[in-house]
Assembly symmetry: C2
Homo-oligomer: 282 residues x 2
């Protein structure tokens, strides 16, 4: 029983007869391989390389969705059988997860890409926060008292630095509106098991690894308020996703991802600091 993922916030969706990913009830995420632009091939190549790479530390492997191979499935666009990547469905253990999909790096193109691809990315990077902040929010859903807030793609693309700060505040608040209560900031962003600590672990690895350059990949933050309130763990997760444009690092660190990651870490740190300031004022 395959179905359209309920909690997909960015990327191509399997709706209106289009090609997109599917999920099942046992925690698998099926991502169709693209034949038009070698994107799918690129991602499969990466997963094969990564899963057999013995130089990936165990604590870093946890940041990546589990890869179960490929499977021929009826594609969501009705075009018949098509190979799909079989991946871990990151949202499967969560009822109402808040999710941020953040494309990391101040450049989403790469030298090996076609000129058209470079020009398209170059334009999008300049007109979103990619160049200015070193990352951009690609999609999100935030669960709160009144249900999910899931803004349209067009609105997300128009986000400014201040919008990003607002989103990061809302993500860890129980209320909506201009005065976030930062209710979950300390537990979700702070602490030795919080999102900031996870991001710092990633940063340390990216300061050193020279095997892969992760162009146009995303950090996905997930926070399940209900799991947290019921004392279930894990209630927050950090994953890396979307590896269609991973290229060989050739002995050079992924300075593009690293710079963007450091900028994002600074944003999260500032929201955490703001939350402490706001609590002290109470």
């Amino acid at each position: 029983m395959l179905k359209v993922p309920e909690h997909q916030v960015a990327g191509r969706q399997a709706i209106d007869g289009k090609l997109g990913p599917l999920i099942d009830n046992s925690g698998h995420f099926y991502k169709p391989l693209q034949d038009d632009d070698e994107r799918g091939t690129g991602e499969l190549t990466f997963y094969h390389s990564f899963s057999s790479n013995t130089r990936i530390p165990h604590h870093i492997r946890r940041f990546f969705p589990v890869f179960y191979g490929t499977q021929l499935l009826k594609a969501s666009d009705g075009s018949g059988l098509r190979p799909h990547l079989v991946l871990q469905d990151i949202t499967s253990d969560h009822l109402n997860p808040s999710i941020l999909d953040i494309k990391i790096g101040s450049r989403t193109w790469y030298l090996e890409a076609s000129n058209d691809y470079i020009q398209n990315c170059f334009h999008r990077d300049k007109t979103t926060t990619t160049v200015s902040l070193g990352f951009r929010i690609c999609g999100l859903q935030i669960y709160n008292e009144s249900g999910f807030w899931k803004p349209e793609r067009k609105l997300v693309r128009s986000f400014t630095a201040d919008d990003v700060r607002s989103v990061l505040r809302m993500f860890v608040s129980s209320n909506v509106g201009p005065e976030p209560d930062f209710c979950f900031a300390d537990s979700v962003y702070g602490g030795c098991d919080g999102i900031l600590e996870r991001l710092m672990e990633l940063k340390t690895w990216f300061e050193d690894q020279t095997m892969y350059h992760f162009c146009s990949c995303s950090v996905l933050l997930l926070f399940d308020k209900e799991s947290f309130l019921k004392g279930k763990t894990p209630f927050a997760e950090v994953k890396l996703i979307d590896f269609a444009h991973v290229v060989d690092g050739n002995g050079v660190i992924d300075h593009n991802l690293l710079g963007g990651l450091c900028s994002f870490i600074k944003f999260v740190s500032q929201v955490l600091a703001d939350s402490k300031g706001s609590t002290m004022e109470d």
Copy 2:
């Protein structure tokens, strides 16, 4: 008594009737303010802001040339009196300094620049190591047994990642050729007072500071082999130079410079590690 700097390795030079910087015998470097493209104005604005900024830690201020104000001087191109920035001449205490000028960042343009400027930089960034490595060597001179090696600008622009590694090896060797002796690697790159430690200090600051974005600025490495052999200090220096394109950080870290700096640090670390490997084999 003003003269053309002997140890300038990059940038516009005051030769053949062109406009360029001058030095005197008392350690001052006079950089002409440009009137054609606001570059000079940009750099003066930065030095004014930076020198009165009380949030710059003392240990970070040391990385910047001392700023003594401006002075009207006869320009080197014979065009008459022109305002010049008066800066510290970093090379003045050294007889035969080896120098590397490394433009840091995988992007030398910035959103506020004109379209022509962006397109020019974009092209240069793709065709040098700027995009691939996150930095490019802009100029260099290396002093060794046979005098200075100071390659032409055209050759420097064609450098690959392997050329960069060779240059970093030569910089700390007493000989030339394909088998560098790494003679000074440990003292110059390593140790608690070495170049790597200085670069790490800068990195820590750039992970935090959100006041300035240093577009198209350079890290200058200087190493004076003769001072070292005679036991004089300092025999090696790390400076930041060229601030014509510094823009407001607007509360965001300089992720472009930081990423490039981390990549450069990894290159230097690898050369230091190679040098230890080579010594152990001996």
